[in-house]
Amino acid sequence: MTGRRRSALAFVADHATFLALAILFLAPLVFIALTSLMSADQAGTAFAWPTQWHPENFAAVFDKLPLLKYFGNSLIYATLATAFMLISSVPAAYALARIQFRGSNLLFLAVIAMMLLPPQVTSVPLYVMWTRLGLTGSLWPLILPNLLGDAFSIFLLRQFFLTIPKEYTEAARMDGCGELRTLLRVILPMARPGIAASSIFLFFASWNDYYGPLLYTSENESAWPVSYALAQLRTARSVDWNLTMAATLVAMVPVVLLFFLAQRVFIQGITLTGVKG
C-alpha cells in the first residue's frame, strides 16, 4: 500500500519535473516567437501577449534587410566547407582507423590537439597569410582550409570507422581489393551514418560560426553570413526587436529542419565523440 502510494508520488514528481523542464527550455523560444509577431511599438515596451498580430513581420524582414544575401553566403560557406571536408577527411580518417603505419598514433594525437585548439591561438599568422593572399573580406579563408582536412571531422569519422568490424576490411583485402577500393566499396556504404553525422556537424559549425566571419568578413557586408549579420541587427542597423526576433527565428530554420531530418545520426554522432572508445 505505502509502496504503491510512494511510486504514485514518484510518478507525479517525475512528470511535474519533465513538464517544468520542458517549459523552461521552450519558454525563451515562445517569447521570441511572440515578439516576432508584435508591432514594433509593443515589442519595445514591457512584455505582454501581442495585442495585434503581425505575421507580415516575416516578409518585412526580407524586404528591409538583405537577408537572402546573408542566407546565400551562409549556404555557400556551409555547403562548400562540408563538401571539401568530405573529400579530404574521409580518406584520412580511414587511414587512421584501418591502415597500420608507423606514426599513426602520433598523428592521431596531432588531430586531437588541432581539434581542441582555441581558434584565437592561430588567428594572427593565419590572418596575415590570408591578407597576403588577398582573400580577407571573403569567406574563402573559412572554406578553403577544409580541402586540407578538418580535425574534428577526421576524429569523428575515425571513431565511426572503428565501429565497423575489422573482418569486413580484411575480407575485402583477401579478395584482392586495394585500400581505395576497400574504402569506396566496403567502408563507405557501411559508414553512411558516420558520414552523415560529420557532414551535419560541419554544416552546423559553419552555419553557426561567428568568430571566423567576424575576423575575415566584418568589413565587407556583401560577404556576411547570416549568423554574423544577425549580431549586427540590434547594433549597427538599429533594427526593432520584433524584426530582430523574426530574423532570429528565420536564421534558426535551416539548422532545426536539418536536425529533425537527421536526428538519429546526429545524436549518435555526439555520443560517439565523448563516449565511444
Binding site: F25, Q100, F101, F108, L116, Q120, V226, V256, T271, G274
Partner: protein, 339 residues
C-alpha cells in the same frame, strides 16, 4: 570486438606468425607489403598532413616568432625582444580582468553546466513514455546558432521590458539588471549556458544508459538507497565522461567568445565588435571581457599583432597542459581503441 587487437607499430602482418619455414621470404614479402601500406596511408593522409603543416604547425611557429616583435599589418614585424611579454605580465591593465573573468567561467559556468546536464540526463532516464520527445525538447536550444540564442537571451532578460523581470516583479522579487549590470552579466551568461546544455546532456545520457543494470541491482540488494547508488555506481562508471566534459568545457571556456561578444553589443544596443570598434567588447564595465576577446581586440582592433601573438602563445601553453591531462586520462582519446 576483434579478438586480438593488432597494435599499430607492431607492424607485422599476421600471416608471418607460425610459418617459420618460409620466414625469410614472408618477412621480405611483408616488408614490401608494409612499405606499400605506408605509401597508401601517406596518400590518403596527404591533404590532412599538409593541412596540419599550414594551419597548425606553421601558425604556431609564427605566433611564437611574432610574440617577440612589434608588428602591425602595414609594417613588417620588427624584433622588440621581451617587450610584449613584459607588457603581458606587468603592464596590461586589462589582462588581469580578462583572466579573472575567464577563470569565473572556468570555475563556475563549466561545473554548473556539467551538473545541470547530468541532472537533466538523469531525469530523462526516468522517462518511460515520450523520452525521445523530451530529449528533443531539452536539446533544442543547443541547436540554435549561438548568436541567435544570445540575442534571444538578452531580450528575455532585458531589465526594463523582458518577460523574466516582469515575472520576478509580479512575484515581488527585485529583479537584477542581468546583461546591463556588471555584477549580473556573468551569471546571465551562465544561465544562457544552462539553457543550451543539450550538447553535454546528450553525452551524459548515453553514458548513463550504459551503466549495467546488474550493478544497480547488486547495490540495491546491499541496501544502497537511490543517492548511494548514484554516488557509488553511476559516478564511477561515468568518470571518463565527466573528465571529458570537464576538460572540453574548460577549453571551451578558454576560447569563449561569441556569447559574451554578442551579449555585450546587443545589451548595449550600439555598433560593436566590428574591426576598430572592439573597445566595445566586455560591456558593462569589462565584466564580460574574456581572454579570447581581449586577444582579438588587441590583435585586430588595436592592430597590435605582436602583443596578440604573445597572448596567443600563453593561451596555447595553458590549453596544451589541459590537453595533456585529457589525452592521458580519457579513454575516448587513446589511439588504440579496442573497439
Amino acid at each position: 570486438m576483434a579478438a586480438a587487437p593488432v597494435r599499430p607499430g607492431a607492424g607485422r602482418s599476421p600471416s608471418v606468425a607460425g610459418q617459420p619455414a618460409t620466414e625469410g621470404a614472408t618477412a621480405h614479402l611483408s616488408r614490401s607489403r608494409r612499405r606499400r601500406r605506408e605509401l597508401v596511408a601517406l596518400a590518403f593522409l596527404a591533404p590532412a598532413l599538409l593541412g596540419m603543416l599550414v594551419f597548425f604547425v606553421f601558425p604556431l611557429v609564427m605566433t611564437v616568432y611574432y610574440s617577440f616583435t612589434a608588428f602591425d599589418l602595414s609594417n613588417p614585424p620588427r624584433f622588440n625582444g621581451l617587450a610584449n611579454w613584459r607588457y603581458l605580465f606587468t603592464g596590461d591593465p586589462l589582462i588581469g580582468t580578462a583572466a579573472m573573468n575567464t577563470l569565473w567561467f572556468v570555475a563556475i559556468m563549466v561545473p554548473v553546466r556539467i551538473v545541470g546536464a547530468l541532472a537533466v540526463a538523469w531525469m530523462l532516464t526516468r522517462a518511460r513514455r515520450a523520452s525521445g520527445l523530451l530529449r528533443t525538447v531539452y536539446y533544442l536550444p543547443a541547436l540554435i546558432p549561438p548568436v541567435a540564442s544570445t540575442i534571444a537571451f538578452v531580450f528575455v532578460l532585458n531589465p526594463g521590458t523582458g518577460p523574466v523581470n516582469q515575472l520576478l516583479e509580479a512575484v515581488g522579487i527585485d529583479p537584477p539588471g542581468w546583461f546591463t549590470d556588471p555584477a549580473w552579466s556573468k551569471p546571465a551568461l551562465a544561465l544562457l549556458g544552462l539553457w543550451v546544455l543539450g550538447d553535454v546532456m546528450v553525452i551524459m545520457l548515453a553514458s548513463l544508459l550504459d551503466v549495467p543494470t546488474e550493478q544497480y541491482e547488486a547495490a540495491e540488494l546491499d541496501g544502497a538507497n537511490g543517492w548511494q547508488r548514484f554516488v557509488y555506481v553511476t559516478i564511477p562508471h561515468m568518470a571518463p565522461i565527466l573528465l571529458f566534459a570537464l576538460i572540453t568545457g574548460v577549453i571551451g571556456a578558454l576560447r569563449y567568445f561569441t556569447e559574451p561578444a554578442v551579449a555585450s553589443a546587443t545589451a548595449q544596443g550600439r555598433a560593436a565588435v566590428g574591426a576598430g570598434t572592439s573597445t566595445l567588447l566586455g560591456w558593462p564595465g569589462n565584466s564580460t571581457l574574456t581572454y579570447g576577446q581581449l586577444l582579438y581586440s588587441k590583435a585586430f582592433g588595436a592592430n597590435l599583432l605582436g602583443y596578440g601573438s604573445a597572448m596567443a602563445v600563453l593561451l596555447f601553453v595553458v590549453t596544451a597542459a589541459l590537453m595533456a591531462v585529457l589525452l592521458r586520462r580519457s579513454r575516448a582519446f587513446t589511439p588504440e581503441v579496442a573497439s
